[in-house]
Every structure is written in structure tokens, then in C-alpha cells.
């Protein structure tokens, strides 16, 4: 185990009493509690952590936060493995294991680094210009490209962790827990408003965490304590707000157990929790990102952002090097430079400004050599920087003679880009601030305020005052007041000198191909130049053509410099070339967290009927019909599906069968105008339906196409019960309500779903009357209880409504009882029915039986393009009244007499069953294409007829009675021939209906 030789003697927020062991690329190291993987690696002198996407160049740790483009690792192994995790965001835990990604065989010796040698052949968009010949080879090229691309690896086993989602509401949401966020939350919290404060770090404080003592730390501690004591303030740490959507809806992802390591996680806790936040007011205090500068080799390990060096120094007590050159265009790089110097490092600063101002004097005072008007033009080294060339810059950007400076660390600062990502996601417009060369929030689109560095505000006291005011205002707009005074924080930050916009050191084309703008995707200044030259001049073209900003860091570092370079090349201002906009998520968001617990049995409710357990005990195979589980068939030992269905079908025609029809939609209709409603909704007439009677109806959409069917019964003068197909239950209730509420409010009708109130057992077959007679007090004689009527009585001692309707063509009773009695009813009928040979049957037998009678199933024999006339159901279409969809039936195409029409098909070979969905042709060809004239909608073997039967929609079908048509089976099997027939195959005169 190597020593932490780059750990500072004292300071930092790490817990030196808790040493943690971890493994990186197979080697064991030690860090401390409070470290990130990145800080622990730097403490151990490890800079080379990964390889870039395209050229596989060696890359080190560039930043200290979420914007890290280089230091991506594969965290852990096996089912717990996660690809592409930023080392800068991983809190160290004992036993952590990580490896570099996108490198083979290892990060030191990566064979794909050959791409770097070939780099000249692989400029932006090279793949659009080649790999086109021969045509068939692209799939081979592609395979190689795919293998080379990608970053980390997906786990190979299912995810063992839990994920959770939770909604939360607040008056004021504060995003970011740095000084501005804390001041905002305090101002809003003191009013009593409900405040949610979200921060990505384990501790609140943001940049204040970079000092472990002093006035800032004292204030931080008191602010955190005050917030903790407020009942209506919720602080979410280790939580990143990733999305800002319409109507102040935001998404944040909390890492609940990741910092414990998977061995330390507690099984009852989720790994991640996705917070779905609905806020009244939003205040964004999201800080700013430091920018890199383009120079040759600016991607070498050991080249870092200046601010990150400061953070590693102060927060983690790590010095990433001992001899540093800083390269800056603004004042902020001087603080880390001076901190390093104070720690004993040799430090030089190359500042592109000829007059860097007071800060340079202070730096010189602590022994730093400052080179005004100088730039770092290149970095030298192999897998680690070992020196830089610096040169003077002329007024016109001419580069002077370079000289070599030895160093093991380069700190660059190209200025700062406010973190406007969430503001932009919310729909807010961005504005370009030329002085600081950055985008700042412009006009908000929602009740959004932006404070602090995210708003381009510099200087601690200005920032705190702004934040306090925003917190107070937000609370006020939410209806709360009493924010108290703004906090004052002694600040020793002197006035800053202005930044000098500077994006890349002027250089020759050859060199510019090594000036990196987007580090992860290897996009260079040369690539930007190429895109511009070739006409990809919109910023979006630039991004797509070069892939700038398309990496896993989503351009947090590269977008603004890329845009500025493009503007420079076109000789226009940055806003003229385009504004950059940001999309969710701010940082990558786990799919597991987005799915939450909507997986496994909770993916979708499985609706079960009251008799479900009895079906289960009887060995039923279930089918999914919408969300419902319905018995498909009930195989007995040794039976397959066909045998079971044949047995069930025979039982219904010869004795008695029983079907669970609970899932059919049931709508209770009450009011004096129900008949008027039914007249408008159904194609047939309803005014004369008597109490005690039932009638079949067909519904059309306004386009004239069948949408549903079912039986409706008159329960009382003003009371009806409508049934719908299982899948359409909710849709049809909605359809009725829509017309009643919006178009026909004058109709006095109340519609209520009673689907769930009643369990329904259908008994069907010649013995149905005998069976029912044993368990009911109803008079079942045909005169007293005729077909298409209903009666109320008891069945098996249970109050029941019994409907004499039939979907099988047999004598049939549909027995409705209160749902809690469903199982008792089923049990009693099975028991009593035993001597009658009762056989439970499932949906497949139901389908066969109804097809034998030519009854349609909406959604199977219809598909949204079928009219009642196409179905041969002219008898149900009223000529005398209007109804929904009627007008459409007379359009020229809809009124054609040679449309596809429902007919029966009988195969020449009676044992051959047509494939459902089989296409029908009139004239066979040797091979496709063939002209299709329709398709088989329903097809079964009918055990009762001893042959197959089918229904089909055939063009001009009713004129083809007796014709022979052909059903090719292009997926295999012989072409079948069949004769067109009527749709009723059994008992055409309906005598069986009366038993």
C-alpha cells in the first residue's frame, strides 16, 4: 500500500483518524474519510486515471466536481458495477474498487492509443467522408467502430438495489448550498415558508468548505444550525437537481447509500431516491464552472483547473504537485497559486493580461514569479506533465519566443461560466455578458430567481446581499414575510481586476489539433475551425459535427469556449453565432431512480377478479387482458391448450360450462333521459326497451367506425345497466361523460362505473337451466324468463341479478352478485353443478363458441376501420334517428358496397386451421408480392363441428359467397384454400338459445 505522499501535513476536512483502504486498477491505496476517489488518488500521486473517447490519450483529473470530463471510472464489479462514474464525485469508503475505462489492456498501455497516431486521419466528422465502399462493408466497419467507442461497461447481472421516488412540495426551493444558497434559505426559512434546500455535497457550505476555519466557517456552521432548527425547512444533501421542467416541477436525485459502499448499504433503504419537487418559487444558487484554455497538450495529466487545485488543497489537504505553473486570464487563479506557495511549492503564474493588477503584486510578495502578458503555449510530458513552454503575447496575439519551465502541475483558468443550466432548462433566456465573457441568466420563464456566482455576481458580500434579498422576495411572493437582516460576512477579497477574454493560444493548424476544447470527446480548436470552414456554422451544427459538448459532461467546460472560438472565426459576437441552451439532466440520472419501484410486480397493477384464487386452484392458465388476469383455459393433467379448449367447448354445447365474466365493463345509468342518451350513443333504437328486458347495442366513433358493443338492460323506469368490452370499460364511461358534460348537458343522466361492484358467473349450455334451478328462487321457465331479459332473486342464497343473454349461442345465464360474494357463488355453482357435468371454461373457449355463432369481438374482428355494415349488421343501424357516427357512413368511400366485409371461411381441408392474421388472396402467385383482399380475423378448430372455422374481412366479401380463396403462409406451412360462407356455423335458427 503506497503512502499518501501528496497529502498536506494539516488542514482539510478529511478525518485523519479514519483511514480507508481502496483499490484502483488493481493496486491498493489508502485515503481518509472525507476524501473523494479523486482526492485520494491525488494524495497518492496518481494522476493518470483514464483515456479519452476518441484518441485514447492519457488523461488525468482536471476538476474537483460534477464537470469532470476525464476522470471517469468503472466503480465496483459484478451486479453492483457502474460505468462512467466521475472520480471527483465518489465519496471514498472502505474497500472501494475502481478501474479505468475505455483502455485496453490497461490505462498505462492502451492499444487503442494508436488512434492518437492516426489522429490526423480522424478529424471531426471523418466517418461521414469514408467507409462508403464497398457498400456492404459498412456493417463490418461499424462493428469495429462500436467496439472502440462506448466508455465503461454495463453490469452483467440484474440490479440488486432498491430505488425510490418521492414527491415533495415547497413554497421556496433553493438549489445549491453554498454561501448564496444558505443565505437564501435562511431569508426564506425565517418567514415560516416551506423551504427545501438541495445540495450535491455531503455537507452544506459549497465554496465555504474550502476554508476549515475563520469567519466564513463560523457563519456556515451557524447558518446550518439555524436551518436545521426550522421545522419547515428541509435540507437534502448528496442530492443533485437534474431537471427543471414546466410549472416549477423539478427533479433531484439523492444518493442515499452510495457513500456507504454496497457492503455497508442497508437493505431497507433505497440506493437512490428521486425527488419530484413542486415548488412555488425557485431560487438557483448553483455557482459557476471554471473554464480551461486551449494550448497544445492542455489535456496532459497534471494539467488542472486552477480552482480545482485550490479545492484539493483546502478541502482535502492534498497538493496535486510540487512545482506549478498557473495560466490565467483573470484574478481567480492567484488564490490557489498563493495557497500552494504558502505550502512550500514553487509557483509561477503566466497571465495573458499585460497588467494583471493588485493581485499580481500580492502574489509576487509571497515569492511567486508572475509573467504578465504571457501564455502557456504547450505542455510537455508523457502520461504526466513535466514542463511547459511559455511565451509572451503581442498586442495582436503574436506569440513570442517560447521558453521552457519545468513543472509537475499546471493550473489553468480561462474565467468562469455561471451554472445557468437549470435556468436554461426552465425556459429562461440567457444573456451574454461581454465583460466577463460568459452567459448569465436573462429573462426568466417561470418564478425563478438566480443568485450568486450563477448570476455572475462576484464578491462574497455582494453575493450574500443578493441572495438574502432573493430569499426574502421569493418568500414574500409565496405569501410569507419576516426575513430579518441580511447576513454580513467579513470579506478580505479585494477588488478584482477585469478578465481578458482568452480562449486558445494562437497557433499553427498542426498544433491546434492538440488544443483541446472538449476533453472527453477529443474536440480540438482545429476541429472547430474545420467545422466552420465546411459550413457547419450554427452552434448546433458545430456540436453535432464535432461532438463538442456531447460527452458525459455535456459541455460544462467546453460549450462556451467552443462557441466563442466559432464566433471569433466568423468575426462576429458570441450571441450572433448563437446561444447555447441546456437540456435535462444537469448530471447523468440513473435509470433505476427514474423507474423507482415501478418494476417487478409494481410495474403495473394486476387486476384480479373475486374468483381468481379458485381459478388458480383449478389450474387455470391466465391471459393478460389489459390489466386484468383472466382464465385462458383450464388444462387437466396431460392436456395441452388445444385439448383443454376442445373439452371446454364440448362441455358448453353438451352439458354446462361456467365462465368468469366479471371483467366486462358495467356502467350504471340513471335518470329520465337515459333512453335519449342510448339513442344517440348506440346505432339502434332504445326508447321502447321495457323494464326487465335487455338489448344488444353497437357504438361508433364520429368517424363511423365501430368502437364497442355490449348488452344494456333496463333495470327500472329511470335505471339502466350498460355492459362494455373488458378493455374498453373506462374508455366508454369516459365517452359517455364527455358527451353528457360537454355536448348534451341538458340530458338528465348519471353514469357510474359498477364494474367492480359485481362478480359475474356465466353458466351456459343445455343443462344451465337445470343447474340454476337448483340454487335459485327464480322462475326459469322460458315464458317467465325469456331470452334477452333479466330477473332479480337469489342464487345460492346470495342476492343476484340474473341476465338471460348469451355470447355462446347456448341457453345461458349471466349471474351478477355483489363482488364480495363472487367466490361463494362460483364455489356453490361448481359444487351443485358437478352432477350436471359443469366445466369451467376460459376466454379461449369463449372465443371459439362465439365464433361458431358468428358473434364478433370488437378489437379482433374489427380494427377501427370497420363499420356495422361491413360486419353485415345492417339490422342494428337505425334509419330513423341520428346517432354518433351516422353521417360518416354515407361518405363516398364508407358507403361503397365493395368494402372489406366480414364473412365466414371454411377450409377445404376441414382439419387445417387458418392462421389468425393470415392474409387472403384471390389469385396465387409463385412468390410475393401478391394482391391481398383481406385477412383472417378469427380462426379456431371447432370441436363441436369437428372441423375448423374462421371469420375474415374480405374485400367485397358478401359477393363472393361460395368462392374459393387462398391463404398463403409466407412464414411456413402450406398455402390453404377456403370457401367463403356465411358467418354463422352452428345453430343458425337459434334454437339452442332456449335450451
Amino acid at each position: 500500500m503506497s503512502r499518501q505522499s501528496f497529502r498536506l501535513e494539516g488542514g482539510g476536512r478529511i478525518d485523519r483518524a479514519r483511514a480507508l483502504g481502496f483499490t484502483f486498477n488493481g493496486k491498493r491505496y489508502q485515503g481518509y474519510a472525507g476524501d473523494t476517489l479523486a482526492s485520494a488518488l491525488l494524495a497518492n500521486g496518481v494522476h493518470l486515471v483514464g483515456r479519452s473517447f476518441k484518441y485514447h490519450r492519457p488523461r488525468g483529473i482536471l476538476t474537483a466536481g460534477v464537470e469532470e470530463p476525464n476522470a471517469l471510472v468503472q466503480l465496483e464489479t459484478g451486479a453492483h458495477s457502474q460505468p462512467n462514474i466521475r472520480a471527483t464525485q465518489i465519496e471514498l469508503y472502505d474497500g472501494l474498487t475502481a478501474t479505468s475505462i475505455n483502455a485496453w489492456p490497461n490505462v498505462k498501455w492502451d492499444l487503442m492509443a494508436v488512434n492518437n497516431r492516426l489522429g490526423r486521419l480522424l478529424p471531426a466528422g471523418f466517418y461521414y467522408k469514408t467507409f462508403m465502399w464497398p457498400r456492404s462493408w459498412w456493417m463490418t466497419y461499424e462493428k469495429a467502430i462500436r467496439r472502440a467507442a462506448g466508455l465503461g461497461r454495463a453490469p452483467e447481472a440484474a440490479d440488486p438495489d432498491r430505488y425510490e421516488r418521492q414527491n415533495i412540495h415547497c413554497d421556496v426551493l433553493v438549489v445549491g448550498g453554498g454561501p448564496a444558497g444558505l443565505a437564501t434559505a435562511l431569508a426564506a426559512g425565517r418567514t415560516g415558508a416551506r423551504v427545501v434546500l438541495v445540495d450535491q455535497l455531503p455537507e452544506l457550505g459549497g465554496s465555504l468548505l474550502d476554508e476549515s476555519a475563520g469567519t466564513g466557517e463560523a457563519w456556515r456552521q451557524s447558518a446550518v444550525a439555524e436551518l436545521a432548527a426550522m421545522d419547515e425547512v428541509t435540507c437534502l444533501t448528496r442530492t443533485v437537481v437534474t431537471g427543471y421542467f414546466d410549472h416549477n416541477f423539478l427533479i433531484a436525485c439523492e444518493s442515499v447509500t452510495d457513500h456507504l459502499g454496497h457492503t455497508g448499504a442497508q437493505p431497507h433503504l433505497p440506493r437512490l431516491k428521486l425527488w419530484r419537487i413542486r415548488a412555488g418559487q425557485v431560487v438557483l444558487a448553483t455557482g459557476a464552472f471554471e473554464r480551461a484554455i486551449g494550448f497544445k497538450g492542455n489535456d496532459l495529466p497534471g494539467v488542472m483547473l486552477a480552482g480545482a487545485i485550490g479545492t484539493y488543497h483546502a478541502r482535502y489537504a492534498v497538493t496535486p504537485g510540487r512545482e506549478a505553473v498557473f495560466f490565467t486570464n483573470n484574478d481567480t487563479a492567484y488564490a490557489p497559486a498563493m495557497a500552494m506557495a504558502a505550502g512550500g511549492a514553487r509557483v509561477k503564474v503566466a497571465d495573458v493580461r499585460t497588467e494583471p493588477g493588485a493581485v499580481a503584486d500580492r502574489a509576487r510578495a509571497v515569492g511567486i514569479e508572475v509573467l504578465p502578458g504571457h501564455a502557456v503555449v504547450s505542455a510537455a510530458g508523457h502520461r504526466k506533465v513535466r514542463g511547459v513552454m511559455v511565451a509572451s503575447l503581442g498586442a495582436e496575439g503574436q506569440v513570442g519566443d517560447p521558453r521552457y519551465l519545468r513543472c509537475d502541475l499546471v493550473g489553468m483558468s480561462g474565467g468562469w461560466s455561471p451554472a445557468v443550466h437549470l435556468f436554461s432548462q426552465s425556459g429562461g433566456k440567457l444573456a451574454w455578458r461581454a465583460a466577463d465573457a460568459c452567459f448569465i441568466p436573462g429573462v426568466p420563464a417561470q418564478t425563478t430567481r438566480v443568485v450568486g456566482r450563477a448570476n455572475g455576481t462576484i464578491g462574497l458580500s455582494a453575493l450574500m446581499a443578493e441572495a438574502h434579498a432573493a430569499g426574502a422576495d421569493a418568500a414574500k411572493d409565496a405569501g410569507f414575510s419576516g426575513s430579518g437582516d441580511a447576513p454580513t460576512l467579513e470579506s478580505d477579497q479585494p477588488e478584482q481586476a477585469p478578465l481578458q477574454p482568452f480562449w486558445s493560444v494562437p497557433a499553427k493548424p498542426k498544433s491546434e489539433r492538440k488544443h483541446f476544447v472538449d476533453f472527453q470527446n477529443d474536440v480540438t480548436v482545429g476541429d472547430v475551425r474545420l467545422a466552420n470552414r465546411e459550413g457547419y456554422r450554427s452552434v448546433e451544427h458545430l456540436k453535432r459535427y464535432t461532438t463538442l459538448g456531447m460527452g458525459t459532461d455535456q459541455g460544462k467546460l467546453g460549450n462556451v469556449p467552443g462557441l466563442a472560438l466559432l464566433a471569433e472565426m466568423q468575426g462576429v459576437t458570441v450571441p450572433e453565432v448563437g446561444t447555447t441552451t441546456f437540456r435535462a439532466p444537469f448530471t447523468p440520472l440513473n435509470f433505476g431512480a427514474m423507474a423507482g419501484r415501478d418494476v417487478g410486480e409494481f410495474m403495473d397493477p394486476a387486476r384480479r377478479t373475486p374468483m381468481h384464487d379458485l381459478h388458480d386452484e383449478a389450474g387455470a392458465v391466465f391471459e393478460d387482458v389489459g390489466q386484468w388476469k383472466r382464465p385462458f383455459y383450464y388444462p387437466q393433467p396431460g392436456e395441452g391448450k388445444d385439448e383443454a379448449v376442445n373439452r371446454e367447448c364440448r362441455a358448453v354445447r353438451n352439458a354446462v360450462g361456467m365462465l368468469d365474466a366479471t371483467t366486462l365493463g358495467k356502467i350504471d345509468l340513471q335518470g329520465p333521459d337515459v333512453p335519449a342518451l342510448l339513442n344517440r350513443i348506440y346505432t339502434n333504437a332504445w326508447s321502447k326497451l321495457e323494464v326487465g328486458r335487455s338489448r344488444y347495442g353497437l357504438m361508433l366513433g364520429e368517424d363511423g367506425m365501430v368502437i364497442d358493443d355490449g348488452v344494456t338492460s333496463r333495470l327500472g323506469e329511470n335505471h339502466f345497466l350498460m355492459t362494455t368490452t373488458t378493455g374498453n370499460a373506462a374508455r366508454i364511461l369516459g365517452w359517455l361523460e364527455e358527451w353528457l358534460q360537454t355536448e348534451w348537458p341538458e340530458l338528465k343522466v348519471y353514469a357510474n362505473s359498477v364494474t367492480e361492484q359485481y362478480a359475474v358467473a356465466v353458466i351456459a349450455g343445455p343443462k344451465a337451466r337445470d343447474l340454476l334451478g337448483e340454487v335459485t328462487d327464480l322462475d326459469l321457465s322460458a315464458d317467465e324468463f325469456p331470452f334477452m331479459s333479466w330477473r332479480e332473486g337469489t342464487v345460492a342464497g346470495i342476492p343476484a341479478r340474473v341476465f338471460r343473454i348469451s355470447f355462446s349461442g347456448e341457453l345461458s345465464y349471466e349471474i351478477n352478485v355483489p363482488a364480495n360474494h363472487g367466490a361463494a357463488l362460483w364455489g356453490a355453482l361448481m359444487e351443485t353443478g358437478e352432477k350436471h357435468g359443469i366445466t369451467p371454461y376460459g376466454t379461449e373457449a369463449m372465443h371459439v363458441l362465439r365464433a361458431e355463432k358468428g358473434y364478433i369481438i370488437v378489437g379482433q374482428d374489427t380494427d377501427g376501420t370497420v363499420t356495422p355494415l361491413d360486419l353485415g349488421m345492417d339490422w342494428i343501424v337505425s334509419k330513423n334517428k341520428d346517432f354518433l357516427g351516422k353521417r360518416s357512413l354515407t361518405r363516398e368511400d364508407t358507403a361503397r358496397t365493395d368494402r372489406k366485409q366480414l364473412v365466414g371461411l371454411l377450409t377445404d381441408d376441414p382439419q387445417a386451421v387458418l392462421p389468425e392474421g393470415g392474409q387472403v388472396v384471390e389469385e396465387l402467385q409463385d412468390r410475393p408480392p401478391m394482391t391481398m383482399i383481406g385477412h383472417v380475423t378469427s380462426s379456431y378448430y371447432s370441436a363441436n363441428l369437428g372441423r375448423s372455422i374462421a371469420l375474415a374481412l374480405i374485400k367485397d366479401g358478401r359477393q363472393r359467397m361460395g368462392d374459393t380463396l387462398h391463404i398463403p403462409q409466407p412464414l411456413g406451412g402450406p398455402t390453404l384454400s377456403a370457401t367463403v360462407t356465411e358467418t354463422v356455423f352452428i345453430d343458425p335458427d337459434g334454437s339452442r338459445l332456449n335450451g
Binding site: R278, S424, G549, T581, E738, Q741, P745, F883, R887, R891
Partner: protein
């Protein structure tokens, strides 16, 4: 995700509602039997589909099951007016409806 003010239940999440398309498309009196095919086709299929203010219907399907009308900006997604069936208040002045940020697709 929208926060929609049900005229009865108050502000609720979009997930509780269903969208009902353009509002105020009256069904032709008498069922349109005196209309041409083109006129009837327009009633059934043609919609205004404006960019900007849109009168449209929503139903609080998982709440009180009531239909209502709104005026919504189809660019900003702001709900400017909410009213009950049978009412038809004037359109509000067009608010500043910024172009959607012409931002990155995939």
C-alpha cells in the same frame, strides 16, 4: 409536468387529467346530414392546432371526473384561463410567447 387548476378540486398534477383536444367544436345540429362530405370531414378531423393561445378541453379523469375548458399557450405551456363547459370568456391578450429555445436535439 403541468400543474393544472381543476375548477373544482384546485391545483393538481397533470397525471390526474386527460387531454380532450380543441374546445368549442360543436356537433352539427341534426347530426350533419345536410353537410357536404368536406364539411363533415372538417368537423370530425380538422383542427386549428395554433401555435400560441389554444382553447382546449381537459377532464379531471382521476379526480372529480369533470370536463372543463382552458386557454393554454402551446409554446410556453402556461394555462391562462380555466372555465367550465358552457362558458366562453374572451381570449386574454397574447402574453410574450418566447420561441422555444432552438436548442439541441439529440
Amino acid at each position: 409536468m403541468f400543474l393544472i387548476e381543476c375548477p373544482w378540486c384546485g391545483p393538481r398534477d397533470e397525471t390526474e387529467f386527460s387531454y380532450g383536444g380543441e374546445a368549442h367544436i360543436a356537433r352539427p345540429v341534426g347530426g350533419g346530414h345536410d353537410m357536404t362530405n368536406a364539411e363533415w370531414g372538417h368537423y370530425v378531423f380538422h383542427r386549428t392546432n395554433p401555435k400560441g393561445l389554444h382553447r382546449e378541453r381537459w377532464v379531471h379523469s382521476h379526480g372529480c371526473r369533470r370536463w372543463f375548458n382552458v386557454v393554454r399557450d402551446t409554446v410556453s405551456h402556461e394555462f391562462l384561463l380555466i372555465y367550465k363547459p358552457g362558458e366562453k370568456p374572451d381570449l386574454p391578450a397574447l402574453p410574450k410567447s418566447p420561441e422555444p429555445p432552438d436548442g439541441p436535439g439529440r
